[in-house]
Subunit: 275 residues, 2 copies
C-alpha cells in the first residue's frame, strides 16, 4: 500500500451507445481524462460501457465483443500508463469458441492486472453470456488492494464476502442498474445493498452506474462511493444524468475490521454454522 | 398460512429498567395490550426486554435470568392465549449449569413455539453469555412462517440466509442497537442492513429496538418494519422514545422470490462457489 494516506477515487456515470464502439471509446477517454484532471487515481466506469447493455440477441453481442487485446482495453491501458491511473471498466468479452462474458477489467500503469467475469447473470444476460466461475480477483496496487464485482453480483452477500475476506480495501463495481418502482422518498435498494455490503465488511465500495434510456430501459443512475462503515462519501446524486463522483478515501481504514473493543467483523463470523 | 391476506405486525420500542423484572413484565404487558388493541397479530419486543441489557457482570445477569418456565414467558404465554397473538421477545435465559444465553422466545396461542439463542455476541456479552450454535428456528404459525434472529446476528448475511432459505416469510428481530456516530443526514447503518437483508431474500423483517439511556449507553431507537423489497412500511421514527410501530403485511409475497422474468433471488445463488 502507498504510504500516502489518501486515494482519490472517481465514478464516471456515463451513457454509452449500444453498438457504437468508437463513440463509447471516445466517451470513456473523455471521462477518464476529466477524472484524472480533477485528481482521480482510481477511475471506475459502468458495466458494459464498451458496448452498451441491451443487446437484441447473442449475435449482436458477439459482433460487439472484444478480447482483452481489443481496442477498448488497449485504449484504457494507454490512458492508465499516460495518466498513472487504475481503471476499472466493464466490457463485452469474447472468449474462445464464440462464448461471451460480461466482464470487468482492472488496468494500471503496468497494464492489464485482472479480468473478472460476472458470476450472477441478470435476466436476458442468461441468453448471451457464460457466467463466470472464478472468484473475484483482489489485486495489490500502489493504492491498496482492489477487488471487482459486477452489478447483480452485489445481491449475493456471500459473493461480496470473498474479495472482502481476501483483503480487498476497495471494491470497484461497474453496474447497470435497471430502474424500477420504489417509494418516492426512499433511496434505491441497489444503493442500500452497496452500503450494507460495505458496512458488514468494513470495505470501501465504488459502484459506477450508467444513465440514458436504451431500447426502452432506464437506469437508477445511483452511482455511489461509500466508506468502510457504509455511508456515502460521494453520491448518490439527487438528479441523474452524467456524473463525475469524486471521493478521497483512506483505504488503510479497511484493514481494521474492529467495530468495538471486543468485535471484529471478520473474526466474529462463524462459517462452520453457515452450512 | 392463514387464508387472510394481511397480517398486522407491531414493534414495541420500549425502555426496560435494568434489573427490575417486575417493572419490565408490566411494561411488556402494557405494550402488548396496546398493540393488540390496535389490531396487531404479531408483536415483536426488544432484545433482553425482560432484564435490561447492560449487566455489571455475569453474577448480576445470573441473578436476573429466567428459564423458559419463568414468570416473563409465563406472562407472555397467558397474553398470547388471551389476545390470540404471536409474541416474539428477548430474555436473559438461564441454561443448565449456570450458563446464560441472550435468547428470544416465540410464543403463540398454543404456548412456547421456539427459543433462539443469539449466535453472534456483542462486546461484553462475551463475558456473560454462551453463544448459540443452533440455526435460527422457522415456525409455521397461523400467519405464515416466522423466523427469529437477535441484533448483531443481522450483520452476518450468511446467518440471515438460513431462516430465509428455510422459508421464513417474516423475520422477527429483537435488537438493542447501541448508538454511535454517523453522518447527520444518514439513516443508521443498522436500519440499512435490515433493509438489505430483506431485499436480497424477499423476506419481511420486523426489527424492534429499545430506547432509554442505561448505564451510560444510548440506543439508535431505529425500530423498523420493512417489506420484502427492503423498503420501510413503518419506522424508523424521526424522533426516538417509546414507539408502537404497526404495519399490515401480505406475508404471501415473501413466497415469491422472483425479481425479473428470469431471476429468482434464491435459485440464482451459486453456493458451490461461495467456499
Amino acid at each position: 500500500m502507498n504510504n500516502a494516506k489518501n486515494t482519490v477515487v472517481a465514478c464516471c456515470q456515463l451513457a454509452p451507445k449500444i453498438g457504437d464502439l468508437a463513440y463509447n471509446r471516445t466517451l470513456t477517454e473523455r471521462a477518464i481524462r476529466q477524472a484524472a484532471f480533477q485528481g482521480a487515481q482510481v477511475v471506475v466506469l459502468p458495466e458494459l460501457v464498451q458496448s452498451g447493455y441491451l443487446f437484441a440477441d447473442r449475435f449482436e453481442a458477439l459482433s460487439l465483443a472484444e478480447t482483452v487485446d481489443g481496442p477498448t482495453l488497449q485504449l484504457w491501458q494507454a490512458m492508465a500508463r499516460e495518466l498513472n491511473l487504475v481503471i476499472v471498466g466493464g466490457f463485452c468479452e469474447r472468449l474462445p469458441a464464440d462464448e461471451l462474458a460480461n466482464s470487468a477489467a482492472m488496468i494500471d500503469a503496468n497494464g492489464l492486472r485482472a479480468v473478472y467475469r460476472k458470476a450472477h447473470l441478470w435476466d436476458a444476460e442468461k441468453d448471451i453470456f457464460t457466467a463466470g466461475d472464478a472468484p473475484p480477483p483482489v489485486v495489490e496496487t500502489v493504492h491498496g488492494r482492489l477487488g471487482m464485482l459486477i452489478c447483480y453480483d452485489l445481491e449475493f452477500p456471500e459473493w461480496v464476502r470473498l474479495p472482502a475476506l481476501a483483503g480487498a480495501d476497495l471494491l470497484c463495481a461497474p453496474v447497470n442498474w435497471p430502474d424500477g418502482p420504489r417509494p418516492q422518498t426512499e433511496r434505491p435498494a441497489e444503493v442500500l445493498r452497496v452500503q450494507a455490503n460495505a458496512s458488514v465488511n468494513r470495505m470501501f465500495i465504488a459502484a459506477c452506474d450508467r444513465y440514458g434510456h436504451e431500447r426502452g430501459v432506464g437506469w437508477v443512475q445511483g452511482s455511489v462511493i461509500v466508506d468502510a462503515d457504509g455511508y456515502p462519501l460521494a453520491g448518490p446524486a439527487e438528479q441523474g444524468g452524467e456524473q463525475l463522483l469524486l471521493a478521497t478515501l483512506n483505504l488503510a481504514e479497511a484493514r481494521n475490521k474492529r467495530i468495538s473493543a471486543r468485535n471484529d467483523l471478520h473474526r466474529d463470523r462463524r462459517p462452520q454454522l453457515y452450512g
